[in-house]
Amino acid sequence: MTTKLVAIAVAVLSMTGMAAAKPLKVVGPWEIAGIDPAQSGFVFSRMQVAETLVSVDADGKLTAGLATSWSAAEDGLTWRFRLREAARFHDGSAVTAAIVADTLRKVQGGAGALSQVPVAGIEPDGEDVVIRLSKPFAALPAYLVNYTTIILAPSSIGASGKVERIVGSGPYRVKSLTPPLNMQLEAAAEWAGAKPGIAEVDYQAVGQGETRALMAESGEADLVFSMLPVSVERLKRNPNLDVRIATIPRTRLLKVNAASPLFSDVRVRRAISATLDREGTTRVILRNADLAATQLFPKALAGWHDPELPPLKRDLAAAKALLAEAGWTPGADGVLHKDGKPFSFTLLTYASWPELPPIATAIQAQLKQVGIDAKVSVGNASEIPARHKDGTLEMGLVSRLYSIVPDAIGTLRDDYKSGGSDWGATGWSNDELNALVETMAQTSDPAARAPMQRRAIAILQSELPSIPVTWSELAVVANKRVTGLRIDPLEVNYGLAAIRWAQ
């Protein structure tokens, strides 16, 4: 009897003791390179340390962040954001409109997403922040979801004028921060909302995908983000793990220099698209044939995916015919020639995303089948924008995220503007598309936007300034000892505060 009691007491004590002491161990691939929000704001936003004015739900619908509501004036030029009343920073100070306006002004002057918005002025007005625009811009709230716009307390800024510590307003506060790999969080007393289910969070950055999988498997980590496709099947079979997969608005595409003599002919771009074995590549490398990008945007990106559109698919005969039509004839070495020059170029890619070099390797072999000689060069991510800028880029395999601003219009507007951009078109522009995009940016009615969206997609599908290769998914693994996991395809907020220890 007594022994039983003691046993129960010990068990209870140890359980409560553990629940109080054991932090939620989160592992992800992202290093905290620097603590400036422009650099690592996404980490603090995802981990719910800092908040943006506007947030987003899993379906891509904008929701309240630091601002509980917002509205635009009739002319669409003046926007008013109402701040949450009880909002306090982790140093105890109140989140005021003046602080928010100051922060946003600074961000707007930087190189982040907000700099793309035609802002005329940002001012505090009582409990509201007022943003005045120089021309109507319906997508503004979506831009305020971007992590570079997180609002930090004035005490974050050091004497040098730079951010030196992270004092945010979210449910968690930074307990200790050891860049680039470690961060410990604890529940913030200042947070007025629902108390986080687990009081402490321990974030560890682990760059190697295999290691992350092993940390999940060994039970060392409670929550692991970004699993390698090859590990997913194995992890799914593990009874202790809960594997969640979400399609994220990220597309790997071939950024083609349409101004180069090799790719200026749209028939050549179409031929290359018809050469790609998207289905095989995704099956082998991404382990999910459904990720073959039959058009630029995945199904999950509501309104931006058109099921009616004829899919991009493999057709070697058609590809060969198109190339012959464009004047390319096979030479003695099996490589296509035109005007005495071989169809030979460098396919530039980078390893920041581990799947890009393998996909480039697959593409190289596929292009070789129709006599196109691509040399794969794995370099630094900055080489693609650099060579885009000086015009020497031939073809690059890039990974493009369409949720930097939750409304894809933001990215589209930047990518396909005349003159192109870092990750968008090179040597290609289309007036009709530009006009459509500008109109859409000023239109907030979804019904009015839908036909314009379809038309824009059709133009990109037929002109192929960027050749889509694969879509992406995010695999998150949770140990079954935790519950309440919510997966955010837009990767704005991981909802850690809602996670609890399973009983």
Binding site: G209, E210, L228, V230, S231, R234, D277, G280, T281, R283, V284, I285, A351, P357, P358, A360, T361, A362, Q364, A365, Q366, K368, K375, V376, S377, V378, G379
Partner: protein, 275 residues
Amino acid sequence: MSTADATLVPITQRSWLTPSRMAGLALLGLLALFALSGPLLVSVDPSEQDFAASLAPPGSDYLLGADHYGRSMLARLAYGARLSFGMALLTVATAAVPGILLGLLAAWRGGWLERVLDLVSTVLLALPGLLLVLILLAFAPGTFGPLYLGLALTLWIEFYRVTWVTAGGVLKQPHVEATRLLGFGTSYILRSLVLPEIRPILITLSAFAMSTAIIAISTLSAISVGLRPPTPELGAMIVELLPYYAEAPLHVLMPGILIFLLVLGLQLATRSDAR
């Protein structure tokens, strides 16, 4: 132990070709055969992909199986062996020749030359070799030239130091003085007196340096600054196949086994009796 009566003990038959050397040479011969004639015999293109055969096990349509892209492992291993062994040999030769020559020079001439070379080598030693390789690689990413130069730049120091110390020891011995008095020139002394003494240790060093070179290239591939795909290179093959370790462990090990056999062959072939 006393050697005063050594002349009484009958001379044991000195055979250069000990069993271990024979085994080592046979192993090296087989590897050379595989690396040199393999690419000729295996008619398959090592970069030809066949997604249907992704990670095919050995013994299927593909003798040694196929990698994740469905490329023939046999073809890739044969080409990879040729490339990796060739590159490693070239790298080690580039490191060894100047290393040994400078080592001999320092031991022979002594004086300020020795001191300058010593200082240069210690300062170079203190510089992170990785830095040199990364910086050189930045000039021509994905190509063999800078990789080779960078590795040779870090590897020569070991050859230099070993040669310098060993040759210095040999050159101090009276038989060198005696040989010089008998009218022999520098080249004879270096060739016939010094070289045979430093040869065993240099060969051992080279054997390990070759594996170091291959491993270094694979390490660079692991941090994505290696050779450009789809080059079949043994180290890069390990890196490429590593994510599939759970599904196809044998595939990951195959290139490693080739490297192992190379080092083992070199070690056996150069092993002196168990002394």
